[in-house]
Symmetry: C2
Subunit: 639 residues, 2 copies
């Protein structure tokens, strides 16, 4: 059994499309090793597969016919699945913080109700609550005896399920405002689910996607809550009404930061990698037009334009996968520092990084999923492809948990502060230490192969970030010096500041990809394939933003021509391994839920089969009897 | 009554949000004049408003609660509306080719069934049929006594309504293939709507959007049709089976070209202008964060980043509106040439232009609508904003009627042919005559104001198009000369060829915008506002593609810095007039159907009101009783 054949030998599809089978015959690497790398080790792969097996074997979790459900049906099923998973977990002895539950959530993420409850309400209590508060609320919440939501001054998050909310509100005591704090507020009766007095609540109505989740509006008027419902790990009100701070102000942001990091993996990177798998498999079974007269029609993945659409997305999925993993590690380090030593000094860097990366990654994953969807032509418009729901879901992440432009500007504010620190001779955090270095000039590349040297493209990205941050800083400074007010100067520079933040994060992602690569030196086969993807990611990003690199002559037009040739060549190399690389994400068909993206490549058969099950084919729409039949009969006599 | 107050004085909303009212107090131009310009004259404005009035007054056409309907309900209503419009038209004496019907289709476009029937089936017969065929089929089709569709070898277009199809198929006679021809094929019984023998037909199932349209699959096996059902204006089969050509082969493409031109206005530009109106109005009533400490929260349109997202889209909507109008004129000229003189010599140019522009405009309108949607934050994710359905609808146009990359490469093929003609000393069509000129060098701009000279930016776009076309041509040529086979050489150059085609079309759009501007010399007020939009469109396009212009040093980094300053200044100017400019699209609220984009600016009130009408608020989802109630009761005893 070849390593790449895992699905084949396990699931043994009776028939496999020869056009896809041939793609798997001679990969240059063992697919199973790449699977392990992506999972973070063979042991985690084993656990993930066990969890998948449990989920796939359980009919309640089936996604069959999901694309045919109405919104209320989707919501009902999502609640059923969430409650069922809880039962399953208890039966199987999976713990709340164990890897099984983590995988189960990742696998079922798109199909479970209560995302805000599990992903925001509970973590907020865990991060901001005292041990006693955690002990009181979290078990109830985990058992769905209460359903919690998260309420700020924006529509969203509340809906029809919740009976409690973490409300972020200004804390006033003894006539003084102490800023935003988190409070647990009961909003509905636990007996009959009616809204409590002073609470106006409802669903916000139909949305672009996320139909299985209920989002709502909430208005609170003259609500009293027990003092104990203020989450007070880091601050409290004494019984005589005094306010006591037990930690940094900044600590309030930490729950938000952790949520942001979590959704990068669960919502963004997963969506992009699924879309890549679907589109790449489809593109080797879909044939269209003859490349060469007299031959068969060509696989569309053999068209250079199709490679250009899809393969950089595949490389991007790897780039973000590794970035999310490093960010998660950093996040846990900061968590430990804070919890064990009360040291929150790394929080500004983590906040800036997570904000900027959340924006960069959600933008790129949304664009990438949509590129994959469109690359499947008309079939990408069919919900049965799985692609429309991936898009409508991932694109929401550009808006929630911090709108992307707002986040970019938060990162920019951190970067400008760093520039000021340099002037004062203060030390900088590691991720921005390059701002201390002198700005580099003129890329040294002379021939195509130079562009395959990671230090060279890291330098190139670093240069761009450095220049854009510096230029934005100079503009800001000169506006201030000419007497423009601070807020006007900031606003007048904001387009450039946002771009500088993006460039910084882009550099961080490339650098991290190369670091991952360096860590693979004992796995030459895998290192080689990752190197190819890393090169492709880095070069595509430079070519897509060519203006930034040409602007000050760091790169020349001639160098870009060489780089273009190099990137096109990389496309042809990645093309050969594309199906095996996509296989390494190891999504079972049941999880992809795509008629055109199954492992066996039987796209057309499955599309035809699924379409026939569509409710629109089960009965004639009433419009026929009501409006059309009499008219058609008139034509009968005339034709 | 001020010109900008038309809606106010006609509709007299009882309340208007003062934040939006103040935006309309002192426009630099008469809004009504801009309305006329967009409509193509005051008389057409009058007709449009009459049609709108009729439609709005008729309850059958109401869009109220549309976002709450299921897919089958949307389809049923769309059939009802289509049939009702036919009745209305007869009652009011509107003719099939008159401006009233044109406007009625444009206004109701998103809500009528049978788009393919009206937009493709009938026009194909009209273009490719003989007078006798037109007289036989078109009246039946217009009266919905038959419903026709269009069938090629791809899934789509057929669905549950159609009983006839125009099938594009290879014509064989006397053992010889004569290529693709169009045939009318009956596919369902006119009596009971059952599929005829040899016909397999059904709906393709759920899609990303266009729920009111049924798209289907069709398989034909051993179907015989009468010889008269071949559309034979340009070719026929004699009674003894001989094939006679009565016109150019290329003529078969003409129906496709006409459809393409029509959808640019009806599907793409309309979607973008609606999205702009919604997002701009929302952005002056939505306030978020304080720009200046101590002041009120700022209107989000006062943030530079928001201006950068929205205002170039507004300029783009104008650019494409004028482009579509010129293309339509060109199209009609070619039509007359062909029908009256049998002269199809302009068809290749029209085909190349319409293909490339369809791709450019559908890509940009999709990106623009999505940018507007995201710029409305979480509210842009609500269907009640009207924006999600605009996106899912417009993005389909990137795929249907010729997938965009395929179309770009068709345009590129034409451009490469033109290069070859130059070598042979043959004359070139007008739109590509610049390829004859020597390639220009080094933009002459020295200061900011230079970038507001239209001849300067036209030259800049021309240079880029010329260079990219030439470079692609050189690469292709050198591959061929090195012995690479034609099809391999083409494929290896296709990414660059597609980019060259885009650059050519971008130049055409800018040039056309300036020509429109020149035509307004007797309307200085309007010319001034259009000039501002033209400058903004042109400069944004250069900055967004900076690499292309820096590549060979045509522009320098310093010039781009000046241009950036110039573009940011333009944003602040357009900002001041943005609401009035958006008003000039003159969409009644009933047509926008957006809770956040109404003329009166009462976004929050309407959002709240509409959300309460959502079916999700009318009754408790069964999930509560089934899965949650018993759990919630457990918590009651513990809290």
């Amino acid at each position: 059994m070849a390593a790449g054949d895992r699905r084949m030998s396990e699931v043994r599809p009776a028939v496999i499309n020869p056009d896809i089978a041939v793609e798997r015959t001679a990969p240059s690497f063992q697919v199973e090793k790449l699977v392990s790398l992506l999972d973070g080790g063979a042991e985690r792969t084993r656990i993930r597969r066990t969890v998948e097996h449990v989920i796939i074997a359980d009919a309640v979790f089936s996604q069959e016919n999901q694309y045919f459900l109405t919104q209320p049906e989707q919501y009902e099923l999502a609640v059923k699945k969430a409650v069922h998973l809880r039962q399953k977990m208890e039966d199987l002895g999976w713990t709340d913080d164990g890897p099984e539950m983590w995988f189960a959530f990742r696998i079922l993420g798109g199909n479970l109700a209560f995302a805000v409850h599990s992903g925001v309400f509970i973590p907020t209590i865990t991060e901001l609550g005292t041990d006693a508060q955690i002990a009181k609320w979290v078990p109830l919440a985990r058992d769905y005896q209460i359903i919690g939501t998260y309420a700020q001054t924006e529509l969203g998050h509340v809906g029809s399920s919740a009976n409690h909310a973490v409300v972020l509100a200004q804390l006033y005591t003894q006539g003084k405002c102490h800023g935003m704090h988190a409070f647990i507020v009961q909003i509905r009766s636990l007996l009959d689910h009616s809204a409590l007095p002073g609470v106006k609540i409802g669903d916000i109505g139909p949305k672009m996607g996320l139909e299985h989740v209920d989002n709502g509006y909430l208005m609170l008027q003259n609500i009293r809550i027990p003092k104990d419902n203020m989450l007070n790990r880091y601050s409290e009100i004494t019984s005589d009404g005094r306010y006591i701070k037990k930690g940094s102000d900044r600590i309030n942001y930490i729950a938000m930061v952790f949520t942001r990091v979590k959704i990068i993996t669960e919502e963004m990177v997963t969506a992009l990698s699924k879309a890549c798998v679907i589109a790449i498999r489809y593109s080797v079974v879909r044939r269209q037009s003859k490349l060469k007269p007299g031959e068969m029609e060509a696989k569309i993945l053999d068209y250079q334009t199709q490679q250009q659409k899809l393969l950089p997305q595949l490389a991007t999925a790897f780039a973000f996968h590794f970035m999310a993993s490093s960010l998660d590690t950093f996040c846990n380090q900061v968590k430990v520092q804070i919890k064990s030593k009360g040291d929150a000094s790394s929080l500004p860097e983590l906040h800036a990084l997570s904000a900027g990366l959340k924006a960069l990654i959600s933008d790129a994953c949304s664009a990438g999923v949509e590129a994959c969807r469109r690359a499947c032509g008309g079939h990408g418009y069919s919900k049965l492809s799985g692609l429309p729901s991936l898009y409508s879901r991932v694109v929401a992440s550009c808006t929630y948990e911090g709108e992307n432009t707002v986040l970019q500007l938060q990162t920019a504010r951190f970067l400008i502060k760093c520039l000021n620190k340099i002037e004062c001779g203060e030390p900088l955090p590691q991720s921005v230490s390059y701002l201390y270095e002198p700005i580099t000039h003129d890329c040294s590349a002379k021939e195509k192969s130079d562009f395959l040297k990671p230090f060279l493209y890291i330098e190139t990205y670093k240069h761009r970030a450095h220049r854009l941050i510096k230029d934005a800083g100079i503009k800001l400074q000169s506006l201030l010096q000419s007497g423009v007010e601070q807020h006007v100067a900031w606003n007048s520079t904001s387009v450039q500041l946002a771009r500088a933040a993006v460039a910084h994060c882009h550099y961080i992602v490339v650098k991290n990809f190369v670091e991952t690569l360096d860590g693979l030196k004992f796995e030459p086969e895998i290192q080689q394939v990752i190197k190819m993807l890393c090169d492709l990611y880095a070069l595509t990003g430079i070519l897509d933003n060519a203006g930034d690199f040409l602007h000050d002559g760091y790169l020349t037009g001639k160098q870009l021509d060489l780089m273009t040739a190099c990137q096109l060549h990389l496309l042809s190399l990645v093309r050969k391994e594309a199906v095996s690389i996509a296989d390494a994400f190891d999504y079972p068909d049941e999880q992809l839920n795509s008629a055109i993206g199954t492992y066996d490549g039987l796209a057309y058969q499955r599309l035809f089969e699924w379409a026939q099950k569509a409710p629109t084919n089960a009965k004639v729409n009433p419009a026929y009897e009501k409006y059309l039949k009499p008219r058609f009969r008139l034509a009968q006599s005339k034709l």
